[in-house]
Symmetry: C2
Subunit: 292 residues, 2 copies
């Protein structure tokens, strides 16, 4: 490994290898833990700049390089565990012991949020406009956790076999929990923005090729925050009316999990078509009954 | 207008105003003509670097700044009208006189290709990594031409009215040619890449909300070429098997028009599900009968 590579990126490269070798292994959990600890140590060296939330009831800050003024993405103060808090370390221990539900859904959500946001903010500070590395790390994190909970390896493509045509469809994570049970279709996104329609479109293809109900769609996201670098105002970019149209006319997603639920999507829990938008920690408590 | 703005960008800004004021006006045609002529004059100042096509039967070059080495996107030598050829000017005159079909489909395709590619290459040379300006220009060009041919203004959003819910769906161009006739749904893209699934997803929403067959989908594209800036090899990025899956399981697009048809998509004319992939010039000869 080149000497010049930052320790956070070194740990990330090791995680990439571990995930590819065996997405469910203890080595993968350890790699996530090491990447998290290094990124938390790194991000701690920066200042914390309070942001103005464009709404009420949420508090955000950015990490800031006080020399250059460069700031990270927004961090939700109420979900971010402090630098000395050990909830996230305990969570990763529980992952290794396959005892995730020893912690509450709220603790799990905060632990996952802190693990994800420390890495994403580190990349924001280390690189310029790199969305791919945070996105891939978040895929490994979620793929590992969901795979461990369901006890099956996540895969990323599906054969479409159909009379005389054959095609391979690249997908987000697919988890096959065995015969006579529905399978899971798990798109993982740090944020969705206008590209989100592809999530419902892929669900539609799965419904069409394999039969409706065969795959349960679990969209899994980090947050929808966007920081204005001039005004330091943080906004949640949401398209709730479009989600309702997609849910009615393209396909049905079974759940949408967020680590930091946007307020406008939280409200979709209360209108028709009913959509279930939940903190990610709740997944671990309902995973066994989602297919009922 | 700031003095520092390049003449090509000045003409583009004027086109933007003209299109917004009246997308079908003579002023819009004139603005397209002026933008085209200025961009052709500008791009003529660069050298032409032959590219290696990753396949057979097509020839491409890039414009090149011989001082800096910077190159433009790929230009199809067989579709690009020479700098002294007046086919494109005649085409724009025919657009104003509403006599587009005075030229052959092949001449129209070459004229539109040359108008589009001169502007896109100019922006490639004037700016760094600006995909938005070429994309918006191409939308104006196609929106104007398709609108003129069908005799109706293109619009960009639709109300979704549905019992007790109401939402506005942002769409690509919609052309409403009147009662008791199908309407047209026209997504316009300089290239599609992996985002293309949204085209079928939007068609699916239209089919669901308004009834299948109510909107005819006409995907309209420039090309799918990608140049490797190191090796100067040009490749066509195509996902034909995925298009077939979308066409079978999400919705049906009535036509796909290209100015520069990728070879892998051209072959979709001959396999099941049959998709009609045509040079854009043919649109003007079949527009009146598409809804039959």
């Amino acid at each position: 490994m080149p000497r010049a590579m930052h320790i956070v990126l070194q740990k990330y490269e090791a995680l990439k290898q571990a995930f590819k070798a065996d997405a469910l292994s203890e080595r993968t959990t350890d790699s996530i833990a090491e990447t998290f600890l290094e990124s938390r140590t790194y991000i701690q060296t920066f200042g914390m700049l309070p942001l103005t939330y464009d709404g009420t009831g949420k508090n955000y800050f950015s990490f800031q390089n006080e020399q250059t003024g460069k700031i990270s993405r927004a961090v939700n103060r109420d979900l971010f565990l402090g630098f000395n808090d050990t909830t996230a370390e305990m969570f990763l221990e529980n992952v290794k012991r396959r005892q995730i539900t020893n912690q509450s859904a709220e603790e799990i959500t905060k632990a996952c949020y802190t693990i994800a946001i420390c890495f994403c903010c580190s990349i924001d500070m280390l690189k310029d406009n790199d969305q791919k590395t945070p996105g891939t790390f978040f895929e490994y994190l979620m793929g590992h956790l969901i795979g461990v909970q369901l006890g099956v390896l996540p895969s990323k493509q599906l054969d479409v076999l159909n009379l005389d045509m054959r095609a391979t469809l690249p997908t987000d994570f697919i988890l096959n929990i065995g015969e006579n049970r529905p399978k899971f279709h798990v798109p993982v996104k740090t944020s969705t923005r206008e590209r989100v329609v592809q999530v419902w479109a892929h669900q539609r293809v799965l419904d069409g090729v394999y039969g409706t109900g065969r795959f349960l769609g679990l969209l899994s996201c980090l947050s929808e925050t966007k920081v204005n670098h001039q005004t330091h105002v943080v906004t949640e970019i949401c398209l709730p009316d479009q989600w309702r149209v997609y849910q009615l006319f393209i396909a049905q997603m079974k759940r949408v999990y967020y680590l930091d639920i946007p307020q406008k999507y939280d409200r979709l829990n209360n209108v028709f078509p009913r959509m279930y938008i939940k903190p990610f920690g709740e997944f671990f408590f309902e995973a066994a009954t989602l297919s009922n």
